[in-house]
């Protein structure tokens, strides 16, 4: 019984720590959502991703796939991004999303945040760049 209580205390303490990370982030995310339209003006494309593609890309990298799903699905379907560009965006996001939350919650239990951030950004950028070089449109 005592062991159960100690475990429960540990679990709730962990929840408390994560709560302190999550609530400020969701507030920040909501402010970000009100500002995202200003991203679409960019002219130059990056790794095969245009200005319009930056809305779902930046949303996903910062907010994440689950919580940002509405914005990401809507902005990809409502703009006429090509299949290839949509794939490149989702490829980047598959590897690198919710970058603040994912990193912080692992830092709470002792992970090295710089390694986590650096490797995910590097791999996502490298893979997306390589995929953008291939001329073939992916299904």
């Amino acid at each position: 019984m005592e062991a159960l209580l100690t475990s429960l205390e540990g679990a709730l303490l962990l929840c408390g720590q994560l709560f302190c990370i999550i609530v400020p982030l969701t507030v920040f995310y909501e402010f970000l959502k009100t500002r995202q339209a200003s991203l679409a003006g960019r002219k130059r494309s990056l790794m095969g991703i245009s200005g319009r593609g930056l809305v779902p890309l930046v949303t996903g990298v910062i907010i994440g796939l689950t919580y940002g799903a509405g914005v990401i699905i809507h902005s990809i379907r409502s703009t006429d991004l090509g299949k290839k560009e949509a794939f490149l965006i989702l490829l980047y996001l598959s590897v690198c999303h919710a970058i603040i939350e994912d990193t912080l919650i692992f830092a709470v239990i002792g992970a090295n945040a710089l390694i986590l951030l650096g490797v995910r950004f590097f791999l996502a950028t490298l893979l997306t760049y390589l995929a953008s070089l291939s001329g073939r449109d992916r299904p």
């Binding site: 994560l18 919580y67 994912d102 002792g110 995910r120």
Partner: protein, 140 residues
């Protein structure tokens, strides 16, 4: 401004409720497994596979929880296992690259791209990154 603040706070609360519902059972089950002395058995079972990443066998539980459920579940499993900071970084990198697959793959599908290809990319990348970071730890 006030409306946005309120919406953000509400979202934060609903995520927290979801998180408590995942973390508490996962955490308690791992503690139970530990108290029953089953951790050695599970560790032995997964040791050959997890040694590819330089991780103890029982950390396979965190990998499975993270891949299938979400990162909160993975963290709930990891914390009672008390891994070293180095090991936590390795498994966190693997989980960061590939997690919540049951939720995120359908979301990816809804955008219209080839979600199965991306699912394969994530799992393969996760395993390769774990092996690479393990090698890097040994070298430096």
């Amino acid at each position: 401004m006030g409306e946005t603040l309120k919406r953000g706070f509400h979202h934060g609360l609903s995520i927290t409720v979801e998180m408590v519902r995942v973390i508490v059972p996962f955490y308690l089950v791992v503690e139970l497994i530990r108290h029953l002395g089953l951790i050695g058995f599970i560790g032995g079972l997964f040791r050959p596979f997890m040694s590819l990443f330089g991780l103890p066998g029982e950390s396979a539980l965190a990998l499975i929880a993270g891949y299938t459920t979400n990162l909160y579940a993975a963290i709930a499993v990891l914390k009672p296992l008390h891994l070293s900071s180095r090991d936590v970084t390795t498994i966190a990198l693997m989980l960061g690259l590939s997690h919540s697959l049951a939720v995120e793959t359908p979301i990816t599908r809804k955008t219209g791209v080839n979600a199965w290809l991306l699912l394969a990319v994530r799992i393969i990348l996760s395993l390769l990154a774990g092996m690479a970071l393990n090698l890097a730890w040994k070298l430096f």
